[in-house]
């Protein structure tokens, strides 16, 4: 039986969602997308001046990539901003999928739990398929589910820090308490080993951007994350060994030769 990621009724074979920002060039971006195997890519909307309209290399490349679009509401601080930017996304990108961000602080760029729940509820009412960027707070996560979200995207660490999984206790609690909900670690992942650990813990997927785009070789790093995420998922399904406090030999201890000598030694 194939192991697929199901989000809002769609199946994905990749568990790696990738962002499109911060790459040295559009060409490197599209090679990185290809190397990542990502099927869902995030992008955004910003004010445009008419002059730019002509050249929008990145936008052509995204469409060529064949990836499904996941527009975000990055930078929105109020429910009104998030809802209206979401509507504009739906019109331009012709998709009702949305990575919902309602930012609560300019410095740590964390989600605003209060605005997030309110915006999520309104957007679900309007027919959006909302994937909220949230914290690892279990109560917040349940409120988002009550609001109609069918997928949650808790942060690992603040955006762009690469600090990895800052609160394993809370994240493990989320996973244990919401066993049926697709959970995607979004933001803070800096290295493939961290992504692998998230999957080993049972998280369903990882969404990141900076760690690939800011690598010395983004295309190679996209591949590294792809491999690590597959590794983590495979390991989760294969059942990790139980961590032990004390050592135990792998090589058999029975029938060890020289025990006479050993005795002498120990004499």
């Amino acid at each position: 039986m194939r192991d697929t990621l199901k989000l809002y009724g769609r199946e994905f074979s990749s568990r790696f969602l990738l962002g499109t920002a911060l790459y040295p060039s559009p060409a490197v971006m599209s090679e990185s997308l290809a190397a990542s195997g990502a099927e869902l890519v995030t992008l955004s909307l910003r004010r445009q001046n008419p002059a730019q309209q002509s050249n929008n290399a990145f936008w052509d490349l995204i469409r060529q990539s064949g990836c499904q679009l996941l527009p975000n509401t990055a930078g929105c601080k109020s429910v009104k901003e998030a809802v209206n930017l979401a509507e504009m996304s739906r019109e331009i990108f012709q998709t009702d999928w949305l990575k919902l961000e309602v930012i609560g602080d300019d410095y740590n760029l964390q989600p605003d739990p209060f605005g997030l729940v309110e915006a999520a509820a309104e957007l679900v009412r309007r027919g959006f398929k909302v994937l909220p960027y949230c914290t690892d707070d279990l109560v917040l996560c349940r409120r988002l589910l009550d609001a109609g979200c069918q997928v949650l995207m808790p942060w690992g660490a603040p955006i762009g820090t690469g600090q990895g999984l800052l609160n394993r206790y809370n994240l493990a609690t989320l996973r244990a308490r919401l066993p049926q909900v697709p959970l995607i670690i979004d933001a803070g992942i800096g290295a493939p080993s961290q992504a692998a650990e998230a999957l080993e813990m049972g998280f369903d997927a990882v969404l990141l951007n900076t760690a690939v785009a800011r690598a010395q070789d983004p295309v190679a790093m996209a591949l590294a994350f792809r491999q690590a995420i597959e590794a983590g998922r495979t390991a989760y399904r294969a059942g990790l060994m139980v961590r032990q406090q004390t050592a135990s030999p792998s090589t058999p201890t029975l029938d060890m030769p020289f025990w006479q000598q050993t005795e002498e030694v120990s004499r």
């Binding site: 499109t20 955004s44 909307l45 004010r47 990145f58 936008w59 975000n72 019109e91 900076t210």
Partner: protein, 67 residues
């Protein structure tokens, strides 16, 4: 002579009172943008009907990279 703002820039609002004309005048053509007036999204289908007034704030947005 009243004024509007488009993406934070002042624009003179002449005899063109509809959103559609204002966008044309400002050089926005094609499909690859979406619009909000005073922070409220306006579907493309309504551009022709919407009458602008002095002080209106337009946002015209287009796709950009994002994380």
């Amino acid at each position: 002579m009243s004024e509007i703002q488009i993406n934070g820039q002042r624009h003179r609002l002449e005899n063109c009172k509809t959103l559609e004309r204002a966008l044309e005048q400002a050089g926005f053509t094609g499909e690859a943008f979406a619009v909000a007036v005073n922070g409220e999204f306006v579907p493309r289908g309504q551009y022709a009907q919407i009458q602008l007034e002095g002080g209106d704030c337009l946002d015209v947005v287009a796709p950009v990279v994002g994380g």
